[in-house]
Amino acid sequence: MDRFIDADIVYALARSMGMELEADEVQQAVGELSYLLTALRSQKVNRAMEPATVFKPVEGRNADR
């Protein structure tokens, strides 16, 4: 498992959201985030697969906007 998330990062992220975590909570978060995000990031995605956009191409009088 990549250790791209460590306790310092988790502490900093939690503090940025106004949260104070205990040491055991930090360790648990490090383990679970590393597990989940390693699995996610290992998945390759076709280049064409962008998330859906809100606005579709407009036809008619607003097309040039």
């Binding site: 992220l13 959201m17 949260m19 978060a29 597990y35 989940l36 995605v45 076709n46 697969m49 859906a52």
Partner: protein
């Protein structure tokens, strides 16, 4: 008619009994309230019973029947909603102390639709805290009515238990990763997650808005179709609502399934699946084949892996909704939910977008596979119900147990496809097993047709849990 028979009637049978004046809506509600009072001391499936309002509504229904007015389809039918759905004048607690005293100013759209269809709302069902995988100790668990030692799963646990125990004829639940289908499967009832956008979520507290669905839990497929007919429809107040025509689901039930192409998802049937479940699902496929469907074993790589994307999207969106309470009222969450919400705050925008790209690819791949098949069938869960207090799934170290629990249901929240569970057997311990049927987007009627054909060919739905 014996009192006990009344509770187990289908919605259509109840309606017929009303129209023939064999039963009165008032006596049915009266009897049901008494049944809830006794049975729910153990089942804990209701957070709120709206007894006075239900009796008033049943009196109105009775007058309508006596005056021979044209009766809307659910007139006088007692139903409930999960306590994540607003009913005007009552708190929507989400089984959390945070919302215990926050009173809804208006009915949710599905409640409006229930009232328009004549239904009598008898209360609000217990659930997992904020629909996020855990029981809050203030609200307590809802034991499985088939055997109280076992879990009823969640998060629409109270809805599934109430319907299975015949304390309501239907309940509306919500499903973000399997929260209608898993408790329905564990309790031996029908649970339908409609296509994303088909049922309005206005007035429903979100868990993860791009994955949330509202749908019915009932004792039969025909009842689910009747409820769907009542609650579907475009609602501009829900940004995800689909503005498109819908068929009558009840009227299209009897179309039959001869010639339909049914893909049996092999990996989901074979891998990490309890032999009892595997055998029940394979037997169900043979029943469908006997009804004229073409069964095609199908491999669908990527479905299991998509759960990583689901978890990232769910956690990020849930935390976005909860971030203020997480800062100001962290002590009011149960420790596991607080932990899961905190994790969501640590997911980067890059990871969220990567998860959305995985989701989009999954949707594209599903659309390709479904050019050649009408529905998928697979187990709803890896096993029958698990013992309360024991691990709910076989999960790896550092893996969220919820992810391991929902990998057969969650992919269809990512894709938004309609997905329904219905009973297809019982374990050796006498607990229900769920069969999941998944269709193309906006072809909920096909899912219901397959389920209806299977249900009519089998007897599983006729079994009742031992509730007195």
């Amino acid at each position: 008619m014996q009192i006990a028979e009344i509770f187990h009637l289908t919605i259509a049978e109840l309606g017929r009994a009303y129209r023939r004046r064999e039963l009165s809506p008032v006596e049915v509600v009266d009897a049901l309230l008494e049944r809830i009072r006794i049975a729910d001391q153990h089942l804990n499936s209701f957070i709120l019973v709206t007894a006075e309002e239900a009796l008033n509504a049943s009196r109105k229904a009775e007058r309508a029947f006596l005056q021979g007015e044209g009766s809307p389809p659910l007139l006088g039918v007692p139903v409930a909603v999960k306590d994540i759905i607003d009913i005007e004048g009552h708190p929507t607690t989400c089984a959390s102390p945070i919302l215990r005293d926050v009173v809804a100013a208006a009915d949710a759209r599905v409640v409006e639709r229930f009232r328009d269809a004549g239904a009598t709302i008898i209360g609000k069902n217990n659930m997992l805290e904020f629909a996020y995988g855990e029981v809050h100790p203030d609200y307590g668990p809802t034991p499985n009515p088939w055997d109280h030692r076992y879990s009823s799963s969640g998060s629409s646990s109270g809805s599934a238990v109430a319907v299975a125990a015949s304390l309501a004829y239907a309940s509306m639940g919500t499903d973000t990763g399997g929260s209608i289908r898993l408790p329905a499967a564990y309790c031996g009832v029908v649970g339908h997650k409609p296509t994303y956008g088909l049922v309005s979520r206005w007035g429903v507290v979100p868990l993860a808005w791009s994955l949330d669905h509202v749908g019915p839990l009932t004792r039969t497929v025909a009842d689910a179709a009747l409820v769907m007919d009542a609650v579907v429809g475009y609602d501009p107040r829900d940004p995800g609502s689909a503005n498109r025509p819908v068929p009558s689901y009840f009227a299209s039930l009897t179309t039959g399934i001869a010639g339909m192409r049914v893909a049996l998802l092999e990996r989901e049937v074979q891998v990490s699946t309890h032999p009892e479940v595997r055998e029940a699902v394979e037997a169900a496929a043979r029943v469908l084949e006997g009804l004229g469907a073409h069964i095609e074993p199908c491999s669908f790589p990527g479905l299991y892996e998509s759960i990583d994307a689901l978890m990232v999207i769910m956690q990020a969106e849930a935390t976005a909704h909860h971030k203020e309470w997480l800062r100001t009222r962290p002590q009011d969450y149960s420790p596991p939910v607080r932990h899961r919400l905190r994790l969501g705050g640590m997911i980067s925008a890059v990871d969220y977008l990567h998860a959305q790209r995985i989701r989009r690819e999954l949707c594209w791949r599903v659309s390709q596979v479904m050019k050649d098949v009408d529905v998928f069938v697979l187990p709803t869960a890896a096993s029958g119900p698990t013992l309360r207090g024991h691990p709910r799934s076989q999960h790896r170290e550092h893996e969220d147990p919820m992810a391991a629990l929902i990998w057969r249901t969650g992919p269809f929240n990512l894709t938004g496809q309609p997905a329904l569970t219905l009973p297809c057997g019982f374990t050796n311990a006498g607990l229900p097993i769920g069969l999941q049927i998944v269709g193309r987007p906006f072809q909920d009627e096909v899912v219901l047709q397959v389920a209806y054909a299977y249900e009519r060919a089998t007897e599983w739905h006729k079994r009742r849990p031992p509730v007195t």
